[in-house]
Amino acid sequence: MWNELLYAFEAVATLPNFLAMFAGIWAGVIIGAIPGMTGTMAVTLALPFTFYLSPVTSILLLVALYKGSTYGGSISAILIKTPGTASAACTVLDGYPLARAGKGGKALNMALISSCIGDFISNISLFFLAIPLATFALRVGPPEFFMLMAFSLTIVASISGRSLVLGIISACLGLLLATVGEDIYGSYRFALSEDMKSGLGMVPVLIGLFALPELIKMVVFRPEDNADAMKLGDNRLTLSEFRGSIKSIFRGSLIGVILGAIPGIGPSTAAFFSYSEARRTSKNGDKFGEGEIEGIAASESANNGACGATMIPLLALGVPGDVITGVMLGAFMIHGLTPGPLLFQNNLGDVYALFIGILFSSVFLFVAGKATAGAFTKISRIPQTLLLPCILILCVYGIYSIGASPFDVTVLLVMGVVGFVMMLLNIPAAPFLIAFILGPMFEDNMRRSLAISRGDLGVFFQSWISWGFFALTILFVTLTIRREWNKWRSNRNADTASAS
């Protein structure tokens, strides 16, 4: 193995490979930071260029774009409350409050470091865990998937803020909007117009819900401090802050690796799962959602941790886990390589070269992130009265470019108004977001499982994986009910005491 690794190292350490990775990471970071432009778009746009490159250089370019865009999504999420990619949606929750408090640079640094660590751990796992993880991933069928999604949805309880009831209302709204369009059996639901038959796009909904309410709030209420730029305060990440988040970074990276290896889950779910776990276990759990740096560490380590891991089912089994790895599968085949078990037998040198190249890309990600963070932080200096309207226009162009659809722009604007009304009524937006992303996976896998089992509910309890997630779900629901009960009792006691 070591001889092959040495040969692979020699094959990778060439100028074209380094240039491809460098260009890919930079382009990815910039594309990811633009709202509406996604990693999928970046990888698809780069595909024609790979015709002229060697197989390893091509794949390295595409992987670099994927990683760069995943990190880039966090930049706009932190600085302008606009998740550039769906996987960065969780980063908004703590990143933007930090930026508002003049700590945008600190938040970006934490996002970068945790992304790089998550990415590195994910890359290492490619070497040692590709085969076992791929075998595990094969055991995750619709019932296990359903239980995993049910467990992930329990995060709603921990991010509902002051009222669990309003959090559940928000989640129900997200679950309901996720049902718009065609279902898995071809039935149309809530297709009020022809455009709605294809459902509501994830990116317009997320960006509308998070980015636009700030603008509408500014136009309606005109707070006096909007003419000022955001404060630029302490931007250095201290060692104690890093130490305080290290557990969440490693946990998030592992969650990213495991969930990323399961086809169909992707970085968004991994980020939410990791965020939820960090909030449950952190001593600063109560501060999550208000500008807690550990929250950024948890979500960013997980979404970048999932990036490398999505290559595991692709390389080991030939199964693309998401659209991006689907495009990469195409790139492999264009160059005469067929991912799957035979790839490890017939083209082991190429596989190792790819692994080593991907390891290098973590370093490039750090360099590109560090170099761009300073420039992006300057966005904070633009007064809100100039910045927020420009963000809307940027979002309008970005959203339109996804599918050349005016309907997507309408969805963006309508969701902005919905988000503003939710803000007025104190209904938290975060549970909506999670429910909207996880809802379709939850429902599809439930219906698939019941179809397979011919309506027998026992299908959900046939494997130890399902049982494990079921037990965790019950445990967290019980703990949440107990916590709410205690809160209600203490409030009642306080009211009684003040009345007497």
Partner: protein, 175 residues
């Protein structure tokens, strides 16, 4: 009794989910006559979600009652009165809705770039801060044009030219 935010959130949620459950699902979620295997029908999940949402809406209404009673005792002004009392805010919100609707319906007519230029210009005016007039005028023209160039060159997105503009251009070509 003085209504608070929880009351209005509960009221909005109750009405919204009731409309979904009793009006929209029966009309807009078609259940096919044949469903393969034993798969649950397509209306099952939306119904479950709408019922949970409706129950939570009612619960929010019920839970807001003690707080409202206390606020009423302390003579705190209700949220509804505060919002309706400030008509300027309502008018500005109405103006935002009109602006967004005008953009959506006007964009196919006048074209994407002119529509975004107008949208940005009007939004700058609506912020009510005119300290940086030159920046506002410059940005409202240059920024949309730069984005148009970026997206047409990089992603080759075909932005709508607008029926009015294409009509006049085709006229010129014909002449």
């Amino acid at each position: 009794m003085n209504q608070n935010r929880d009351f209005y959130a509960g009221l909005v949620a109750t009405v919204f989910f009731a409309v979904i459950l009793f009006v929209l699902i029966p009309i807009y979620v078609k259940v096919p006559s044949f469903i393969p295997g034993f798969a649950p029908p397509p209306d099952m999940w939306p119904r479950v979600v709408a019922i949970v949402g409706l129950v939570m809406g009612v619960l929010a209404l019920v839970l807001s009652y003690p707080k409202m009673r206390e606020a009423s005792r302390n003579q705190v002004e209700g949220l509804g009165n505060r919002i309706l009392g400030n008509k300027t805010h309502l008018m500005r919100f109405g103006a935002v809705l009109i602006l967004f609707a005008a953009f959506v319906y006007g964009m196919p007519l006048i074209g994407f770039v002119p529509a975004t230029v107008l949208l940005l210009g009007v939004l700058f005016i609506m912020t009510g801060n005119f300290e940086r007039k030159f920046w506002m005028i410059g940005l409202s023209i240059i920024f949309p044009v730069l984005l148009y160039l970026l997206f047409t060159k990089v992603t080759h997105t075909p932005f709508p030219e607008g029926k009015l503009l294409s009509f006049s251009l085709s006229d010129l070509v014909t002449l």
